[in-house]
Every structure is written in structure tokens, then in C-alpha cells.
């Protein structure tokens, strides 16, 4: 997609995103990268869509308070059982086997 090296493109996008998140205009964000602007602009617009999605998330505080009680109760149950939980452990080097 890009003729720019990954590191160069990564640096440019990150710098432009940082400026956008500080509230600067897209034009200002892209001004240091005129040759990359046509490629960076759609990515900045996409970043705005992603940020908008994050803005609608609910406050988890009350939900998590109830969840904490259940979590501590489960831990108490496991502790009382004295289980080693070895049957549930991931295999060595396979921490991503958890699902």
C-alpha cells in the first residue's frame, strides 16, 4: 500500500495522531508530511471514528463492584478447596491457550 518504509510511515502517523489528539486541525497535523498526506489523511479520519466509538462506553464502576465480590468469593472457594489448579494451567509457553 505504501511506498514508505514501515518505520518512517509509523513515525509520521504517530506524530500526526498525537497532534490530532491535542486538538490540532487535520491540515496542521499533516503539514510536516506533504508527500504522505494523501495516505495519512484517511488514517486520521479512521482514528476519529475509533475515538468516537470509545466515547460511548458506559461507566463500568458500579458493574465492577459487584464483579469484585463474585471474584473474591471464587478465590475464597478455591483457597478453601486447596486446589492446585494444575488441571487448568496453560501448558508451558502456551499462555495464549487460555480462552
Amino acid at each position: 500500500m505504501t511506498r514508505w518504509r514501515p518505520r518512517e510511515a509509523g513515525e509520521a502517523l504517530d506524530a500526526a495522531l498525537s497532534r490530532m489528539m491535542r486538538g490540532e486541525s487535520l491540515q496542521v497535523c499533516l503539514s510536516p508530511y506533504p508527500e504522505m498526506a494523501s495516505e495519512l489523511l484517511p488514517l486520521l479520519l479512521l482514528a476519529q471514528r475509533l475515538q468516537a466509538l470509545a466515547a460511548g462506553k458506559p461507566d463500568p464502576t458500579p458493574i465492577l463492584a459487584a464483579g469484585k465480590a463474585r471474584f473474591l468469593e471464587e478465590a475464597r472457594r478455591l483457597r478453601a478447596r486447596g486446589t492446585s489448579c494444575m488441571g487448568h494451567s496453560p501448558r508451558p509457553g502456551r499462555d495464549d491457550s487460555l480462552s
Partner: protein, 202 residues
């Protein structure tokens, strides 16, 4: 929500006889040792520190508050079940929690995609909201979530941590064991892939 995570994010990488090892800082290492003994105070501290972030991650990926609540609970139960394994995590505890959450999200998409789509269609619109606008927002959210689900694990994680949690490149780098430069490249690849996926579907 939760307290400042930064004091817990100091990790030291060194290379010894060809192996990269990770040494946790004393504070988190001590708490995690107590977590392995199911110490209630330590468990409470870890829960307070990470549950909100894990919830946000799952909610952002699925867009369903009840499901996010259930799966956040499941993440922490799975953590309890596996925490005593010496290989439970390799680079960072928080990165391991996100990996568990990610696997649950992927499993959910895999097992219940049709049911989930039906459930999303039944979401309620509050009385003071414009129904058309709410539906448009839901459709936009669903489009983005479906696209993010097609990214690699690391690409999806970077997008979520940067745009939902607002973490810095340094914080994301420590969490997934990469350099800041690598995170910037990963972020670029993630955004470019996401753009291609969305363009193909819109």
C-alpha cells in the same frame, strides 16, 4: 475507575545466555506472589487495577455491556485458575490478562456470531434519544468492531489500548514486550489494514 497503573509498569529486560528475561519490579512482583496464594487483599488490588481496563477492552470489541460484564468476570476466574503456573505470563501480567480477554472475545465471535448479531439488533433506545441517530451509531460501531476483529491480535490490541485507554506508546510497548518504534509501526499497519477491511465492506 482504577488507580494510576504507572508504578506497576516498570519492567526490566535483559539478555542472558541468549535468553530474554523479564524481571518484574518489586511492587507488582510482591502483589502477584500474594495473588498466587489467593491473598484476598492482593486479589482485590489486582482486580481494582485491571478490571476496568479489561471491561473497556471487551466492551469496545463487542459493544454489549452485559456481555462485557460477564466476560470480564470470566477473565478473572481464568486468571485465578492459571495464576499458579510459572508460565502463566511471559512478558507482562496485564498483557496476559488482555490475551485471555482477547481469546474470550474471539471465542464469542466464533461460537455466537449469529446470535450476537440478533442481540445487537434488540438493543434498546432510551426515550430521549433520536432513534435514527442511535441506529446509525450502532451500525457504525458494529462495522468498526467487525473490522477490528479481523486484525491480528497485536494490531487489535494496539488500536484498543491507544484509542480506548489512551495509553502511550511506551506503556503499550512495555505491556506487549516491544520497542516504542515497533509499536508505531504496528499502529500504522493496524490502521492501514483496518482501512482496507472497511473499504472492502462499505
Amino acid at each position: 475507575m482504577v488507580g494510576d497503573e504507572r508504578p506497576y509498569l516498570f519492567w526490566f529486560l535483559y539478555v542472558s545466555k541468549g535468553e530474554t528475561r523479564v524481571v518484574r519490579n518489586g511492587q507488582e512482583g510482591s502483589v502477584l506472589e500474594r495473588v498466587q496464594e489467593y491473598d484476598p487483599d492482593a486479589l482485590g488490588e489486582i482486580y481494582d487495577r485491571y478490571a476496568g481496563r479489561i471491561y473497556n477492552y471487551i466492551y469496545y470489541r463487542l459493544g454489549d455491556a452485559h456481555l462485557a460484564e460477564d466476560l470480564t468476570g470470566t477473565v478473572f476466574v481464568k486468571m485465578l485458575e492459571a495464576i499458579r503456573s510459572s508460565r502463566a505470563w511471559n512478558v507482562s501480567f496485564s498483557g496476559w490478562l488482555y490475551r485471555i480477554a482477547h481469546n474470550l472475545v474471539v471465542d464469542y465471535f466464533r461460537r455466537c456470531e449469529q446470535e450476537h448479531a440478533a442481540a445487537l439488533d434488540e438493543r434498546l433506545v432510551a426515550g430521549d434519544q433520536d432513534p435514527v441517530r442511535v441506529v446509525e451509531q450502532q451500525m457504525e460501531g458494529d462495522r468498526l468492531r467487525r473490522a477490528i476483529s479481523q486484525l491480528t491480535y497485536e494490531q487489535g490490541l494496539v488500536v484498543t489500548l491507544k484509542f480506548v485507554e489512551g495509553l502511550s506508546n511506551a506503556e503499550v510497548a512495555r505491556m506487549i514486550g516491544k520497542t516504542e518504534g515497533a509499536i508505531k509501526s504496528l499502529q500504522f499497519r493496524a490502521m492501514a489494514s483496518l482501512r482496507r477491511i472497511l473499504e472492502a465492506s462499505e
